[in-house]
Symmetry: C2
Subunit: 208 residues, 2 copies
């Protein structure tokens, strides 16, 4: 049976041309198309699409919440974002919400069809610039150097487990006073004033 598709896109003209293209592809079957995704959950429950094409900027419920509706209603339905936005915030929100692909609207129809094929086969189609952003998000940007000594790193790694000084000291088999000294030095090097800030900074910047 052909691949079933549902489209959420508030631009009527665009939605209609997409629907037309898909309906006449032979390869895909257009199950439904809507200009808002407030009832996305019901719709995917009823039509059980293999793929959903989802815009982001829509009146009422936006596409990001739309992803969640779709995924909660039917996790196996693949959601491909189809949008003009390529800012990091929207992109990563979509990915976190469970999007299976992310295409920019400048993608030509032929590539769009390829992407649908790819997502059906378990891939994750992304426009090149999007894939690049995603990859770059892994490039541990700057291992900012705080010049912590080995011992200080040990102390810090215990600290970020939430251990109080006494525990840190006993784990490292040193006196609490020594542990406290190390902590003071760590706070100075990280430019923070207390353990809580140090933990926050260390975890955020992936020190240790």
């Amino acid at each position: 049976m052909p691949v079933g598709i549902v489209i959420f896109e508030d631009n009527d003209r665009l939605r209609e041309s997409l629907s037309y293209l898909i309906g006449n592809s032979g390869e895909y079957k257009l199950l439904a198309d809507r200009n808002d995704c407030s009832e996305a959950d019901t719709l995917v429950r009823v039509y059980q699409p293999d793929v959903v094409l989802m815009d982001i900027d829509m009146p009422g419920v936006n596409g990001i919440d739309g992803i969640k509706l779709v995924k909660e209603a039917r996790p196996q339905t693949a959601v491909i974002m189809y949008t003009v936005f390529e800012d990091d915030e929207k992109l990563f929100k979509c990915l976190c919400a469970g999007a299976n692909g992310y295409l920019l609207k400048k993608t030509p129809p032929q590539k769009l069809f390829e992407a649908i094929r790819e997502v059906i086969e378990g891939g994750a189609p992304m426009s090149p610039s999007v894939a690049n952003k995603v990859l770059r998000s892994f490039h541990h940007t700057k291992p900012i150097e705080y010049n912590l000594t080995k011992r200080e790193e040990e102390v810090l790694s215990l600290l970020i487990k939430g251990s109080p000084v006494k525990i840190i000291a006993s784990e490292l088999k040193i006196s609490t006073e020594t542990a406290r000294s190390h902590l003071k030095n760590i706070y100075n090097k990280l430019h923070v004033n207390c353990g809580k800030e140090a933990i926050a900074k260390a975890l955020r910047e992936k020190i240790v």
Copy 2:
């Protein structure tokens, strides 16, 4: 001028066929090919390639450290991994080390050429199953429910900035005693005993 390519691949047969394909493409120019990447840094400094094709499993210096050598020597050179491995550990280590693409060896040469084109244009070519792994790494696996109230979430989000109770209270325009109450409730709900543990848990599990 044609796109310059350097190959690191320890399988002689494969390396030679790749070299041959690239050398005869007209589109690309093979600058060098090696069976180990112990001198990857020197090599990219000398040949200044646009793209490096890099295997992972090589004698001596492995491909992951190879990425680092290349990127430190010449950050603008794009590194495409070309490997049989698709386990999470190797994949994400490569991405973190700065890889610009990740292709499985089952990729047909034509797709390989496409990938090189894509990476030159600033994309991030990935085999479908790889792209899928990458995307899935964003799917916030477990939104473990601690049933924090809105107010408690506000307090927690201030806490993880390292703010002391007084600051939290004044930011939320409530008394320090109220803020303290909220904190106590938060600690109970998160099953922790102090603010440091709460910060660690909240940041690790991406609550708030």
